[in-house]
């Protein structure tokens, strides 16, 4: 479990560390215990703010010396002027949001760019697991049985890209990774990508 988490974190850090300019104002929605933000702060000297609803996670962020806000993401975003943040991050958070479209729109207003990473529900192993067992697939996250799981609203690569097209959201960059969360996927991403990370902004 910890190993999988470590790989995921490392993946996010690699990609975002590459994308995010030093000294940027970064907002991480669903920041958890603040590991990603802490690393980004070390690596890129970003001005980091995290948002989470879980008191225990807030406590962990406080121990890391991060600025963190306990509350709802959409209403938090609405408090800031347009383009206040250079980057808003939604790392493996979007599938747990009650109203993802509202949060994404809010993030693209309060932030110049949004980095959004999610596990692709259309990944072949997920499809296979669905077929074989009829159980909700968890792919790499399969460490929490459903009674203890939070509500999930999984998203797939094509669904996300269709949403972007419909909302006139410009895709600046995309990274698709195979089941090992390391090897890039070039073709057939809807089927072959286990993890997808996009950089998007409002279309000019």
């Amino acid at each position: 479990m910890t190993k999988i988490h470590a790989i995921k974190r490392e993946t996010d850090l690699q990609i975002l560390g590459d994308w995010i300019e030093p000294g940027s104002r970064v907002l991480d929605l669903g920041c958890g215990r603040g590991v990603l933000l802490e690393k980004l702060r070390q690596k890129k000297d970003v001005q980091a703010i995290g948002v989470d609803i879980d008191a225990e996670k807030i406590e962990a962020c406080v121990r890391r010396g991060l600025s963190v806000y306990q509350g709802d993401a959409a209403s938090f975003l609405s408090l800031f002027d347009e383009s206040h943040f250079d980057w808003v991050i939604l790392s493996r958070t979007v599938q747990e949001l009650e109203d993802p479209a509202k949060v994404i729109r809010g993030a693209l207003r309060a932030g110049r760019k949004l980095a959004i990473g999610f596990e692709n529900h259309g990944y072949w192993r997920n499809r296979l697991a669905d077929l074989a067992s009829g159980r909700a697939s968890h792919s790499l996250t399969g460490d929490t049985p459903w009674p203890e799981s939070r509500p999930q609203n999984p998203v797939s690569v094509p669904e996300f890209e269709e949403f972007c097209a419909r909302e006139s959201i410009g895709i600046l960059r995309r990274v698709w990774l195979a089941g090992d969360w390391k090897s890039p996927v070039k073709r057939l991403a809807p089927l072959r990508a286990a993890y997808a990370m996009y950089a998007v902004s409002k279309a000019k």
Binding site: E59, V62, S67, Y69
Partner: protein, 382 residues
Amino acid sequence: MNDASPEEFIAGQTGEVGLVSWQDFVCAEPFHFENGGKIPSFTLRYETYGRLNAAGDNAILICHALSGDHHCAGIHSILDSKSGWWNNIIGPGKPVDTGKWFVVCSNCLGGCVGSTGPSSVNPETGEPYYASFPLLTIRDMVRAQKKLLDHLGVTRLYAVVGGSMGGMQALQWMIDFPDYVEKVVALATTARQSAQAIAFDAVGRSAILQDPGWNGGRYEPGKGPNVGLSVARMMAHITYLSDQSMEEKFGRSKTEEAGAGKTLFGTEFQVESYLRHQGKSFINRFDANTYLYFTKALDLFDLYTPTGKLEDTFAVVKSRVLVVGFTSDWLYPPEQNRDLVHALLRAGKKATYAQLDMKLGHDSFLVHAPELYRLVGGFLES
């Protein structure tokens, strides 16, 4: 000053600050109040725990709330049944760790527990100030505390920590002395009181002012507007609790007196008996004039001035800030605590908002609360 030396405590264990005694700091210079008026000199009564380091930069200032005082930890005598009002958070190995930090708490200017206030004698006239004491603000309290810290050799505050009125002081500190304060912990507080909170203060003051014993503020010690003050305290105390906690603690339980069938308008319910006790014990320890001055200071406190935008006021801030709101606090509700952090973050400052789901209302910050200890301890350590 206290008998708790850091070496006596093993890491990870908590201890008590033990026996402590207060001291008086006398500032012989005139003090000019924010809204005009001055006094020729003043005294602040204070306590300290732990040791100030050679650089003078390991001090934590604790700011007390309306009815608090300088005695926030330890005991004055082995016969004391109660320790200082925040003993659960201050001590060796506790979140405000006296093994690491030099902890200072003073009775506010205008107070009635040893610091100069309306009941103190004006050296220029030889009689108490009474209502001639100048109008007092939170900022005045902070400026007086700064004189004390200078006197103690504190070069920089590692942190200022306070709840309610103490939280207001903590916020004022980081605005008035941005280079002097590294961290701020403000609990159950607000940038300005709501109309409802002002209204409660106004009713409390009204009870005092309309008590014939007030006599324009001139009364002998112990003989003042005791009825008015106890009514003010009883009412205010309700605002410090929550509906749920009162229901759980008292419900509709009746007193023995009621059971004996003796009462007409006596103390029928336990909650009445509790409030009467609160009112009665308050008049023995608190001065009515101080109550008037302090509640006025609360009402006047407004960080939205002068521009109407909180982030403008916070533009000067350099401290790292932790604000904690309590879900059941309806006096300074979570929204008002959140607003502080919103404004700080909009202004590009380092600030954290955490909300604790405790049911005891406004006074939640004073009770035993491991989750609060972890937050405050974690923030001070980080």
